[in-house]
């Protein structure tokens, strides 16, 4: 089967800083991969490079997404091809109505998939269940994108958008940070609903707790721009217990 994502020896940096120092990772359809690692290890940088944020320099390596060269595509082309990033810090856009924004996004993706565009009425029907699924306050959708949303509401809104856009590959950057217990359950629910044999997710998190809800197939530890260890979901438990130091020590020993 064709992998969804294949990263080979990716090295990348920003503003002259070398941050990703050779990452390789393959994600097959149906899989959920968790990426954990200390602050500043390069997790968000990896997400930004995958999504195509401007200003990042690719030093070497290759990224294939559904068989095509991902790094060649503009960020909007990646999004239309089904790559979704739930932002660690969702951005406020004053003046732009949330519903209008999301409908425009959905229609771009539908156009790309050869589907007809949805008008406002169809759209409202389409999102109804997803609003319920994420237990979102409908009033939020009448407000400008993320403006005045609480931290938790912003995160929930990211997953709501994901549920509407139905990506092939979702990259979640610390979506669990700042969520209360109920919200964590709701958000995880949203992610699990998207789980299917065709789709995949890359879940960046600091907390093993999330992985009780979104059970990963693989866990990777990112340290100083490298994946230093990969394993099954037990690895997350071990990290929770022992922290990252022991991996760092083992690394040094091996070197």
């Amino acid at each position: 089967m064709q992998p969804i994502l294949e990263i080979r020896n990716l090295q990348a940096g920003v503003e002259g800083r070398h941050i990703l120092k050779g990452i390789s990772l393959t994600i097959q359809p149906g899989e959920i991969h968790a990426v954990m690692g200390p602050n500043g290890s390069g997790k968000s940088t990896l997400a930004a490079v995958l999504a195509g944020r401007e200003g990042y320099d690719i030093v070497s390596g290759e990224v294939r997404y559904l068989g095509q060269d991902l790094l060649e595509l503009d960020p909007e082309e990646r999004a239309r091809a089904g790559l979704f990033l739930a932002f660690q810090y969702p951005v406020e856009i004053p003046g732009v109505n949330s519903t209008y924004f999301l409908k425009a996004a959905l229609n771009e993706i539908r156009k790309h998939r050869g589907l007809s565009e949805m008008d406002a009425i169809e759209f409202l029907g389409f999102v109804k269940d997803k609003i319920k699924l994420l237990e979102l306050n409908e009033d939020l959708l009448k407000r400008p994108v993320n403006v005045g949303f609480s931290g938790g509401e912003k995160k929930r809104n990211e997953i709501f958008q994901m549920a509407v856009l139905e990506p092939r590959l979702a990259v979640l950057d610390e979506t669990d940070s700042g969520l209360d217990i109920d919200a964590l359950r709701v958000v995880s629910n949203g992610v699990n609903k998207l789980r299917s044999p065709q789709n995949a997710a890359l879940v960046i998190t600091h907390y093993q707790r999330l992985l009780n809800y979104i059970v990963p197939d693989f866990v990777h530890v990112l340290m100083d721009g490298r994946i230093v260890r990969s394993g099954g979901k037990e690895l997350a438990l071990e990290l929770e217990e022992r922290g990252y130091d022991w991996i760092a020590r083992e690394q040094r020993l091996a070197a």
Binding site: A51, G52, R53, E54, D74, P75, E76, R78, A79, R80, F84, L85, F87, P90, V91, E92, I93, P94, G95, V96, N97, Y100, F101, L102, A104, A105, N107, E108, I109, H112, D119, A120, P144, V145, Q161, L165
Partner: protein, 481 residues
């Protein structure tokens, strides 16, 4: 807003699409300005004595004036002796009906999306079409006549309603008002005239569409709208010009008079040729617009969307004389590339309990310079006057500028004034967030800009609001990398 995205997409691929020149047989007077030219214009128009005398008074006064330098705009001096002051499409018969309009002219307007064919025209909008110096056609005149509404070219009004013209011409903007108003008074050749009688609510939108076609001409039109007691009229003007390397001058005057309980809503979608990306060519748009809310509880409301012109210099104003009269100013001004805009309003409160609202949205992109200049003046007689002003600026990129000059003069302690101002920038974070959801850069900018302008667009008649959104999309083309 549901159709905005695909349409803007279509639009952003095109440059200024109104930049064509039509091959219309034109009659012009030689360039330059002197009393003979003014007499010739007046004679061509077969004007009564009072008009010629009025023009000459204005001209003689103009000679004593110097061009203003104070707005925050820079441009080489205009050579007033090289301008053609009168150019008119030749085949201008006394039109018995609209069918007699020169087919080339008709095609010109079709290309601009303005149909002079009443059947095809959006029901509910009457159009006066002005090319270069003269009005070429006015639609729906007969329907309006049934309501006693006079809507015609200024020339026609001078012939058919000289008493109204003599009474109100210059009553709001006297010929001594400023340099460009004086020049306009001396040489204006046409424009639109509208009178709505007592108690009549004008059943359709009235609009004037201005087109400069001939090279080296200046356009000097004059609009006069009178709303008699208890009447209402909504009026819209639009304008375009061919792309040319030299600058052309547009110096118009608009006068509005609202009597007791009357309301005039005046909307402008200004899209004169803005010049090219290097700042070559474009229209100098130096315009004086003023309304007097003369009667009790009368209301004057200006809405403008300014996207065109190399330089815009205009301050649509309200003189609030009647007790409890209301003045409003809603403005979107956009400058891209090397465009400059210095625009705003004056609200002069004279009557008791007069109220005014100012909402100004300035958008700067490229090397554009955008200034808001506004005066709120509360005279001693204006007890209980209130004003609310809001001036927001949006910057796209870091080579453009936004400036705000609010002037306030309060001579009555019972007045209440509120002023709010913000400046924001379209951030890369915002653009990337939109991109990541599948929305292109240009659409993202359009979306954010349209959101920023919402409060103003809301004031425009429905179909023009859509038009205005498209225009902003076109004008911002290429403003992000």
């Amino acid at each position: 807003m549901s159709t905005a995205i695909p349409t803007i997409e279509e639009f952003v691929r095109s440059d200024y699409k109104y930049g064509f020149v039509s091959n219309i047989d034109t009659e012009t007077l030689p360039p330059g300005l002197n009393e003979d030219i003014i007499r010739a214009i007046s004679a061509k128009k077969n004007e009564p004595e009072f008009m010629l005398n009025w023009r000459l008074r204005a001209y003689r006064h103009w000679l004593t004036m110097t061009e203003p330098r104070w707005p925050k705009v820079t441009y080489p001096r205009v050579d007033y002796q090289s301008i053609i002051y009168y150019a008119a499409p030749k085949k201008k018969p006394q039109l018995g009906s609209l069918d007699e309009v020169d087919p080339e002219l008709r095609r010109t307007f079709e290309k601009l999306g303005i149909s002079l064919d009443e059947q095809k025209r959006l029901a509910g909008v009457a159009v006066d079409a002005v090319v270069d110096s003269v009005s070429v056609a006015t639609t729906f005149q007969k329907d309006l006549e049934k309501h006693g509404i006079i809507f015609c070219s200024f020339s026609e009004a001078v012939q058919k309603h000289p008493d109204l013209v003599e009474k109100y011409l210059g009553s709001v903007v006297p010929h001594t008002d400023n340099f460009f108003a004086a020049l306009n008074s001396a040489v204006f050749s046409d424009g639109s005239f509208c009178y709505v009688p007592k108690g009549v609510r004008c059943p359709m939108e009235l609009s004037t569409y201005f087109r400069i076609n001939t090279a080296n001409t200046g356009q000097f039109e004059r609009t006069l709208i009178i709303a008699d007691e208890g009447s209402y009229v909504s009026y819209l003007e639009g304008c375009t010009a061919p792309m040319r390397d030299e600058n052309q001058l547009h110096a118009a005057v608009v006068e509005l008079v609202a009597l007791d309980n009357a309301e005039i809503k005046y909307s402008t979608v200004q899209n004169w040729y803005p010049g090219d990306k290097e700042g070559r060519g474009g229209i100098y748009n130096f315009v004086t617009k003023r309304g007097i809310a003369k009667g009790r509880r009368s209301k004057i409301s200006w809405t403008q969307v300014e996207t065109g012109s190399a330089i815009t210099w205009k301050y649509p104003s309200c003189i609030l004389v009647g007790e409890e009269s209301v003045g409003e100013f809603y403005s979107v001004a956009l400058t891209n590339n090397y465009q400059q805009a210095d625009t705003g309003t004056k609200m002069v409160h004279i009557g008791r309990n007069t109220r005014s609202t100012i909402v100004s949205k300035g958008i700067s992109a490229g090397h554009g310079q955008n200034s808001y200049r506004g005066l709120v003046q509360i005279r001693p007689s204006a007890a209980g006057a209130r004003n609310f002003s809001q001036c927001d600026s949006l910057l796209i990129g870091d080579k453009c500028g936004a400036h705000t000059f609010p002037y306030i003069e309060v001579k009555n302690d019972t007045a209440q004034l509120e002023h709010e101002a913000t400046t924001s920038k379209i951030g890369e974070d915002q653009i990337f967030y939109c991109n990541q959801r599948g929305i292109s850069k240009q659409d993202a900018v359009n979306m954010i800009v349209n959101g920023f302008c919402k409060e103003v667009f809301r004031e425009l008649p429905m179909e023009f609001a859509v038009e205005a959104q498209k225009l902003l999309g076109v004008s911002l083309e290429g403003s992000v990398g």
